[in-house]
């Protein structure tokens, strides 16, 4: 035990300050999760109604739409990676990025080129550090995404998918995000966004419910034209909301364990500090006792 008592006290103080910060971050994350979950709940009716409408059109009309038709020979795929803006959330961002890498490898194995689209500063940093090209990126909203953010991302991705002349034309669009399963479990997940598969929805309408025979105004093709981009954007919005709830849950957990660790550290430092203090006292006492004895011996000798 080399550290002096003064050093130990300084360390305890600094760990204490860190603990206060991590504790505060834990509490903030905890209160924001509730809000994030509420936002996800509030967005659910829109997604549900939209899915109903899309499946109604899909059921009663045979319109082929560019967003739903499978390209015959897919050559390029886009991956949208949803990460966080800030760190201190444990393995949150690295887990998503790892999943994205895995998906990228798989797509490359199928002979497709991969274009990257990134949301969140952590992802942007990851790819720019490795000098990997990113077609487009969006930052600044990872913990409170709004529909406008989803809309911006959606427009870019739909543009890349539909526009044949674009240099970034892709034949598939995938999204990698973290799904919020529970407070304890968040899983990175990838979904294929485009071409659309309408049956697999997060909010599938009840199959027993028979859809009424709708009249479409102005026409089924036009309705579908207007509906599908909104449907894509609503799914991206869903992914962003899930990711934000997951990010906050991951941060809360990371900060909780940081707080626990700080407590452990303070405990062990306090023990060593107490030992050092006791050792100092013992030494002083034995010095005094030794001094008194020496004096007494000297006095006894002179009498």
């Amino acid at each position: 035990m080399a550290a002096s008592l003064r050093e130990l006290r300084a360390r305890i103080k600094s760990v204490n300050a860190t603990k206060k910060i991590t504790r505060a971050m834990e509490l903030i994350a905890a209160s924001r999760i509730i809000k994030a979950q509420q936002r996800a709940q509030q967005a659910a009716p829109y997604a549900r109604e939209l899915t109903r409408a899309v499946s109604a059109v899909a059921t009663y009309s045979n319109v082929d739409h560019p967003l739903t038709s499978e390209p015959e020979d897919p050559k390029r795929a886009a991956i949208l990676v949803v990460t966080s803006d800030r760190g201190l959330a444990g393995a949150y961002s690295s887990a998503v990025l790892r999943e994205a890498e895995r998906l990228g490898e798989k797509l490359r194995g199928d002979g497709k080129e991969v274009d990257l689209y990134v949301s969140g500063r952590k992802g942007v940093l990851y790819y720019s550090f490795r000098d990997r090209p990113v077609i487009d990126s969006w930052t600044g909203f990872s913990d409170t995404p709004t529909y406008d953010d989803a809309q911006a991302i959606g427009e870019a991705l739909i543009g890349a998918f539909v526009d044949d002349d674009s240099e970034h034309k892709v034949d598939e669009v995938h999204v990698v995000y973290t799904r919020f399963k529970s407070m304890l479990l968040q899983e990175p997940q990838d979904i294929r966004l485009l071409p659309l598969e309408i049956v697999e929805g997060e909010e599938r309408p009840d199959t027993s419910e028979v859809l009424p025979l709708y009249e479409f105004e102005p026409g089924d093709a036009e309705v579908l034209d207007a509906l599908l981009p909104k449907y894509v954007q609503s799914r991206i919005f869903f992914c962003l909301l899930q990711a934000s709830a997951s990010e906050l849950a991951a941060r809360q957990r990371a900060m909780k364990s940081a707080t626990d660790n700080a407590e452990e550290l303070i405990k062990s430092y306090t023990r060593t500090a107490n030992q050092a203090r006791q050792a100092g006292i013992t030494q002083e006492i034995s010095e005094i006792v030794g001094g008194v004895n020496a004096l007494a011996d000297a006095n006894a000798g002179s009498e």
Partner: protein
């Protein structure tokens, strides 16, 4: 089943209004459409503008949407819009500023024209329901 229409006005991030109504008037791409009880199933595209709702209590309120969809089936009406505002939620000052800005941006492109229309609709409903 109740005697009235079940209406849900849903924006992308929240449910703006839901409840019973006797009549709903909205503007589709083909023109205005009024929905009463037992309307045939309908799915149509709405243009940016006003939605008018007559409630069971005989009151009338309106909302502004930035385009969206109207779906009617079995006396259930849902209006989907990315952004929707009830007339009492419109910030009149801000709406006027938006209108000025949209007008200055130039009325040439269809986008800014749409913005002007939307801002005008917001001011109109806010002033009427004051």
């Amino acid at each position: 089943m109740s005697d009235n229409l079940q209406l849900a006005l849903v924006a992308a991030d929240r449910v703006v209004w839901s409840g019973e109504a006797t009549m709903i008037i909205a503007r589709t791409t083909d023109g205005e459409v009024g929905v009463l009880k037992n309307h045939a199933p309908l799915l149509s595209v709405l243009v940016p503008g006003e939605v008018e709702v007559h409630t069971v209590e005989g009151e009338r309120w309106s909302a502004v949407i930035n385009g969206g969809f109207l779906s009617v089936a079995n006396n259930r009406v849902s209006i989907l819009a990315e952004h929707a505002e009830m007339s009492n939620e419109v910030d009149l000052e801000k709406a006027r500023q938006d209108l000025e800005r949209a007008k200055q941006a130039g009325a040439d492109s269809p986008e800014s024209e749409e913005e002007v229309r939307l801002a005008e609709a917001r001011i109109r409903v806010a002033e009427r329901d004051r």
